[in-house]
Structures are given as structure tokens and as C-alpha cells.
Symmetry: C2
């Protein structure tokens, strides 16, 4: 299934910027960056559970947030993009 | 239906920062801010078409991007939130 992951990480401190880098790195390793803090990841239920736990461990829950949207398997018709395309290698996860 | 709207606006110039303010204002007027550049909007098909056109007119498509995800009417089980809750008035659109 396609899981959309969005995050807000507070970068007012160096610790925050470090958390941001770690969260971004983890997402890059598991999906397709479609905007600066928006990723689309093709995951099964088990992979989703693991990634959610790993990301949860990286953030400061008092300062940062994560949101996960399960878009299912028939997501092609549910996503629309307008404007600049991200400068990343495209694969089947990236929908324009 | 619930429509998730995410945006990246290039804020390197004052014109970009002005576009960002306009895009954010438009989204605030039509939905619930759940992260800094992530909004959830309850819209019918007609409202969705209008909002998409209005937002498209506000951005610079060579520098900025918008993404729209249609989450349908049964979205309650598809969304998960971790960490800091946004400091906005909650309504039925906001799912935690």
C-alpha cells in the first residue's frame, strides 16, 4: 500500500536540525520524496509498522510531529500534482 | 470527501514569501492546518475543483508545487498522528 508521510520538525536548535536530518534520511531510505517534508512509501503492513516506530523514536514528540496517511493500493487516481516536479529519480511511487 | 493538500513554495525571494502567505491563507480559509504546509479540507467535488484552480493560480509553477490527495469519506482509519499537536482549533477534520 502507499503510505504518505509528512513531518514537521522544529529546527530552532542544532538538536532539532539533527532530528530533521535523521527523519529525512530515514524517509529517503524508504520512499520517494515528493516535497520537502512529504514522502510516499510503498510498504506492506509490517514494513509500515517498523518505519512508523523508527520515525517515532527519532522525533521529539513535544516539538515535532509526524502524520501517516494510508492511501491503499489504488492510489493512482487519488493523487494530483501541480507545479515544480521534485528533482529526484522517479519510480512507480511518484505520481504526477 | 477529505482532501489533503501539501505545498512547497520557494521562499528565497520576497515574491516567494508573498506567494507562500497567499497559499497558506487560502488553505486556512478552506480547511484545517495539521502541519506547517499540510492541510486537510472537507470538500465536495465542486469545491475541490475551485480550490485547486485558485491555489494553482497563486503559485509559480516553475518554483513551487502543490499536491492533492483524495482520501474519500472513510478517512478516519487512514490517518495517524505522532507527536506535537498543531495549535489550532480542532474540528471534525482534524484526526489524531
Amino acid at each position: 500500500m502507499l503510505v504518505l508521510i509528512t513531518y514537521d520538525v522544529n529546527t530552532e536548535t542544532s538538536a532539532g536540525r539533527k532530528r530533521l536530518r535523521k527523519v529525512a534520511k530515514k524517509c529517503v531510505d524508504h520512499g520517494q520524496r515528493v516535497q520537502n517534508s512529504v514522502f510516499e512509501c510503498l510498504l506492506n503492513a509490517s514494513q509500515y509498522a517498523v518505519l512508523k516506530a523508527e520515525l517515532t523514536a527519532l522525533i521529539d514528540p513535544a516539538l515535532d510531529s509526524l502524520r501517516f496517511y494510508q492511501l491503499g493500493n489504488n492510489y493512482q487516481t487519488k493523487v494530483e500534482h501541480v507545479g515544480l516536479h521534485p528533482e529526484f529519480a522517479q519510480d512507480s511511487v511518484l505520481i504526477f
